[in-house]
């Protein structure tokens, strides 16, 4: 058993215990059930974002990229904007959350798969995929911007609040389906750990060792698309958090083995989210800032990575 894995697992257990119990009053079974669902949501989203980012960086051979850079966050905001534009803020609120969640997930997954199928045909390389993702992201953002100018200011507030991750107000009806899909995708990713280790050596070295790099990349990208779609539909867009956690994971793991990297990243992300949420919600009594702070930290990591690379 890897030591960082063990330590992080214990840290998560401790953070979870504090999260569940700190400042709780009244009916314990109710408090635990209520907070338990929130805890589960944090862990589901944290694991999905972290493991998908680690796998994405391995497949693209680049430690600065995240799946969000493929335009996922922008696509989510665009879908939200389109919905508000089409139905109005009130109409959107009236829609069954499960229907909305299913539709958003399906739309994003569909878009990602179309993008991959088109881009990863034989001979297409990942650099092109990533570049196209950036271009699509920009396109989606400008489309949202255009629509935003045309919608009611009151409705605009709905769009705006959907543009940040809401770890706090996850719909419990969505949680369990999301958790099940995430768990399956994570298991499928973990099952490929040895092949991911080889893929990390680069395209030529992996091919020479008998791993069909492009086919492996396609399969892993499908799993990444599932993870990111589900977690984004659940809590909203998370851009830099994955980067923060993956940098942290590679720094503390002390190994290149994905058998450790993937679960460690999931645990670290969960610790950061659970501890952050505890701190902000229970200790500082702030409602929404945790995602902003985490994204800020992730953004700082992004800048450091970029500057370090530029300095080299």
């Amino acid at each position: 058993m890897s030591r960082p894995l063990l330590v992080t697992g214990l840290a998560l257990a401790a953070a979870s215990a504090v999260f569940l119990t700190l400042g709780a009053r009244g009916d314990w079974s109710f408090v635990l059930a209520f907070r338990g669902e929130k805890l589960a949501a944090l862990i589901v989203v944290g694991s999905a974002v972290a493991a998908s980012t680690v796998a994405f960086q391995t497949v693209t051979g680049n430690r600065i990229l995240t799946p969000a850079i493929m335009g996922f966050d922008a696509l989510y905001v665009l879908i939200q904007t389109l919905l508000v534009f089409g139905l109005g803020g009130v109409g959107l609120a009236a829609l069954d959350a499960r229907v909305l969640f299913g539709a958003e997930t399906a739309l994003m997954l569909g878009a990602a798969l179309v993008l991959f199928a088109w881009l990863l045909r034989r001979g297409a390389d990942l650099n092109r995929l990533v570049l196209t993702g950036i271009i699509f992201g920009t396109l989606f953002r400008s489309l949202s911007g255009l629509l935003n100018r045309m919608i009611d200011p009151a409705d605009f507030a709905v769009v705006q609040s959907a543009s940040f991750a809401r770890f706090n107000s996850v719909d419990d009806r969505l949680l369990w389906p999301a958790a099940a899909v995430t768990l399956l995708a994570l298991a499928a990713l973990l099952a490929r750990h040895a092949r991911l280790d080889v893929v990390a050596l680069g395209r030529d070295a992996a091919t020479a060792l008998g791993v069909d790099h492009d086919r492996e990349a396609r399969r892993v990208m499908v799993l990444i698309a599932v993870l990111v779609s589900v977690s984004t539909a659940l809590v909203g867009p998370v851009v830099f958090f994955g980067l923060l956690v993956s940098a942290l994971t590679h720094a503390v793991a002390g190994t290149w083995r994905h058998a450790v990297l993937l679960p460690l990243s999931a645990l670290l992300a969960s610790v950061v989210l659970v501890a952050g949420q505890t701190l902000f919600e229970r200790v500082l009594s702030l409602q929404t800032s945790v995602s902003v702070v985490i994204e800020g930290l992730g953004g700082a990591v992004f800048l450091i990575l970029i500057l370090r690379r530029a300095a080299r």
Partner: protein, 249 residues
């Protein structure tokens, strides 16, 4: 036995190899020589299926390499590229252990570990086994990459300029390892620029020029003043010193 038939290949749309025919026999060290840009690395990449041929075929012991499932191919054929960048922070032993991946699927058993240790020792790396690749010298890294291909225990071993960055002692060691493998029945191809080394250690030569086979044969047939002068478009003398040919420019 590697058989190359009417092989052509393109890079970035431009034809680089034209209608190559060659046979690489097991039991021998075949040196692949020729000027910069002749297509040596490209030929190795096509044989190793890192690059698709635009025409022609390559077979290993009668089986078409382009049809072979990648894992099976990797058990039979190993290739060292001219330039390799490894980004993950591996130790020398980790890297050489990856050579066992086609056989082990990533879980090294005792037999795999014995092979890794033997390959490390063969390239004088035992003392460096635990060092990270970013903390060793260029020549040490090169030897680690060679050891990784040896750990694949292939039937065909393709080494693209394996002597880059190596000191004289290790040049000799690597060429002797290549010979030992050849004597054990492996088809060994080594891209070389030093023709005196080729004369001393190779059993056969293939000389490429501008993407075509310019000359092929035994060292005493290919390593002659006129042939080499024409191959490199520069005056070259060949002398016999202590029973071996020495190439002077």
């Amino acid at each position: 036995m590697i058989e190359i038939r009417s092989l052509s290949a393109k890079l970035g749309g431009a034809p680089v190899l034209h209608d190559i025919d060659a046979t690489i026999a097991p039991g021998r060290v075949t040196a692949l020589v020729g000027p910069n840009g002749a297509g040596k690395s490209t030929l190795l990449a096509v044989i190793g299926q890192l690059l698709k041929a635009s025409a022609g075929s390559v077979t290993l012991d009668g089986a078409d390499l382009s049809d072979m499932p990648p894992p099976e191919r990797a058990r039979r054929l190993a290739i060292l590229r001219q330039n390799t960048t490894i980004t993950p922070r591996l130790t020398v032993a980790d890297l050489v252990g990856f050579g066992r991946y086609p056989h082990s699927g990533g879980r090294l058993d005792d037999a795999d570990l014995r092979i890794v240790d033997a390959c490390l020792a063969e390239l004088d790396l035992s003392a460096l086994a635990g060092r990270h690749l970013d903390t060793i010298s260029g020549g040490q890294r090169q030897r680690a990459l060679i050891a990784m291909t040896l750990a694949q225990t292939p039937r065909a071993l393709l080494l693209d300029e394996p002597l880059n960055n190596l000191d004289l002692g290790h040049v000799r060691r690597v060429m002797e390892v290549a010979r030992t493998r050849a004597r054990a029945g492996v088809a060994v191809v080594v891209v070389l620029h030093d023709l005196s080394i080729a004369a001393r250690f190779a059993d056969a030569l293939i000389a490429l020029k501008a993407g075509r086979v310019f000359a092929a044969g035994r060292p005493d047939e290919v390593i002659t003043g006129p042939t080499l002068s024409a191959l490199y478009d520069t005056p070259i003398d060949v002398h016999e010193v202590a029973g071996s040919r020495v190439v002077l420019t």
